[in-house]
Amino acid sequence: MSIITFDNAGKRFGSLDAVKDFSITIKDGEILGLLGPNGAGKTTLMLMMGTVYRPTSGTISVNGYDVVKHPNEVRKLIGIAFQDPRLDGILSAFDVLNWHLKMTTLFDKVERRRRVEDVLKSLDLWEARKKRTWLMSGGMKKKVEDAKILVQRPSIAVFDEPTAFLDVPSRLLVWKMIRQLRDEGSTVIVATNMMDEAERLSERVAIVNKGKLVASETPEQLKGTVKGGEVLELTLNDGSEFKPGLLKEFPEVHDVKQQDNKIMVFLNSGTLLLPKIVDTLSSQGFKIESVRLKEVSLEDVFLTYTGQRLE
């Protein structure tokens, strides 16, 4: 059952189309990863869904409510954790979360305190609960921002780059808490430009580039769309003379992409083909600095669909 529908939604700022003809259906109870580079339109999509921006074309409905016609109903369902923490600097972490709960729920003081305490302790912020947020480090602020949604437990939880600025243990913990949120019945949308986050957290990944939806499938299905199943990464000392046709002569090679001096060869039987490719390039005078053979990743999928690297 779908809970959110973007139907040819668009947002134009002046002459710039931040989002254009965007259509997707998000299922109730899934974790959807919005994967795209900075400036792809991910945040604009979320702010339109959260009724902060009005779409300039198309429609967006949340649980059957049109975001323009029934914004108040939509806001009751959604909680958004922003990429850059949006905190009242003069307030402490405890007060920020407590006030957020006052605004978004009808919990009494005891329940609010219990929730805030649980989440702050889990995020290792309990000792710093009275510290004004403007005095906190970037990582601590980010955890407080995520904690707003983790205490609220909304029907639709939106996280914009939830683990930016976080160390590895904290990232793993936040991912675990987001999954727990989904297990309790929330629909979760995670915008990210980190491949591993999209791959490890999302049940479905929507690739967004230049305000448009490029592809939307499970991570495995997306990888399956890349022909060959293996990727050979070659780094040349000078890629200016390289021509992809040189390697496309091999029947096992399905596609070749180049970015500066980095060559990505999408192929199968890579172990057998590797020496032949190296010989071919060496015979043409190219000096190979490094070679890496790997399975297709989301990064390769992104490159295939958009022609550019994400990171």
């Binding site: 947002k11 700022f13 931040a18 604009t44 702010l47 959260g50 009724t51 902060v52 921006y53 009005r54 914004p71 108040n72 806001r75 009751k76 369902l77 959604i78 909680g79 958004i80 922003f82 850059d84 949006r86 905190l87 009242d88 003069i90 307030l91 006030w99 006052k102 605004m103 978004t104 729920t105 009808l106 919990f107 929730r115 649980d118 989440v119 302790k121 889990s122 290792d124 983790l150 609220q152 437990r153 909304p154 243990p169 904290s170 913990l173 675990k176 808490m177 727990q180 297990d183 309790e184 019945g185």
Partner: protein, 270 residues
């Protein structure tokens, strides 16, 4: 690091903030008021500055000005409180503009409160903050004026509150209509200057040059100053002034909401 919380047991369907618009407006207002209490030194230092201004500057000037039937010291005392509350009420616009620049406004706009309630809550918060801020100064002035009865105090405070409510609405209107920070500063400073200086707060209309006296009777600050004086000195209600203040509130809260809908949701700050 401690383990993740076991929240699942009773959190699957959190109660939503529905049918509680008054509560949400009140919470939004309290957020602005709480900022004041987190910086109490501002109230203390400003109150001290006010006392010095009153008992040094106003006292000296009133010795130089002799107008039959007018105690200029008393006149100035009430007016300076009114001018102060107008000035403080403009601060909410700076807060909103700063929040917009820092992105906090985006967060506030995702909360389950309607835009109209949001504007009313912010204006109410700004007005309450201004009233709390000037209460120490107001009490000093009320004693100077020798107020007739407790109702005089309530009546005068009502006028001040209406002024503060309207000015915060005006300030919010400017905050959501002007994109450039420099332009915002200039517009707000000019507005503050116009409504406070071209008014009867600090000097009687009979002493004003014609080009000021034409506008001064219509300044909301004049309405509040005249009404507060009428209440404190002899306890009479200046109904036309109060009506003017109510109109001021309605117009600028309405404008704030209208500008907000038209500009902010279109992505003015993006």
């Amino acid at each position: 690091m401690s383990s993740s919380p076991t929240l699942a047991r009773d959190l699957s369907s959190p109660p939503l903030a529905k049918e509680s618009s008054t509560r949400l407006v009140f919470q939004m207002a309290l957020r602005d008021v709480s900022v004041l209490f987190r910086t109490p030194w501002i109230i203390i230092t400003r109150s001290l500055a006010f006392v010095i201004q009153l008992f040094v500057f106003a006292f000296l000037i009133s010795g130089l000005i002799h107008v039959p039937g007018l105690n200029f010291f008393q006149y100035y005392a009430v007016g300076s409180v009114v001018a102060t509350i107008a000035s403080i009420s403009f601060v909410i616009g700076y807060d909103i503009f700063e929040e917009a620049e820092e992105g906090v406004l985006d967060y506030l706009l995702t909360l389950p409160i309607s835009r109209r309630q949001f504007i009313i809550g912010r204006a109410l918060g700004g007005a309450l903050r201004a009233i709390i801020y000037i209460i120490p100064m107001f009490l000093v002035v009320a004693l100077i004026e020798g107020f007739a009865q407790p109702l005089s105090i309530i009546s005068a405070l009502l006028s001040l509150f209406l002024l503060a409510f309207g000015v915060t609405g005006m300030s919010i209107t400017v905050a959501v209509s002007v994109k450039s920070a420099n332009r915002f500063d200039v517009v707000l400073a000019l507005l503050e200057l116009a409504v406070s200086r071209a008014s009867t707060a600090l000097y009687p209309i009979t002493f004003m040059p014609l080009y000021v006296s034409v506008f001064a009777p219509f300044s909301p600050v004049s309405f509040a100053a005249d009404s507060a004086r009428a209440s404190l000195v002899g306890f009479t209600l200046d109904l036309p002034a109060i009506a003017g203040l109510i109109a001021f509130v309605v117009v600028f809260l309405g404008l704030g909401a209208a500008f907000y809908f038209r500009r902010l949701e279109g992505g003015i700050y993006s």
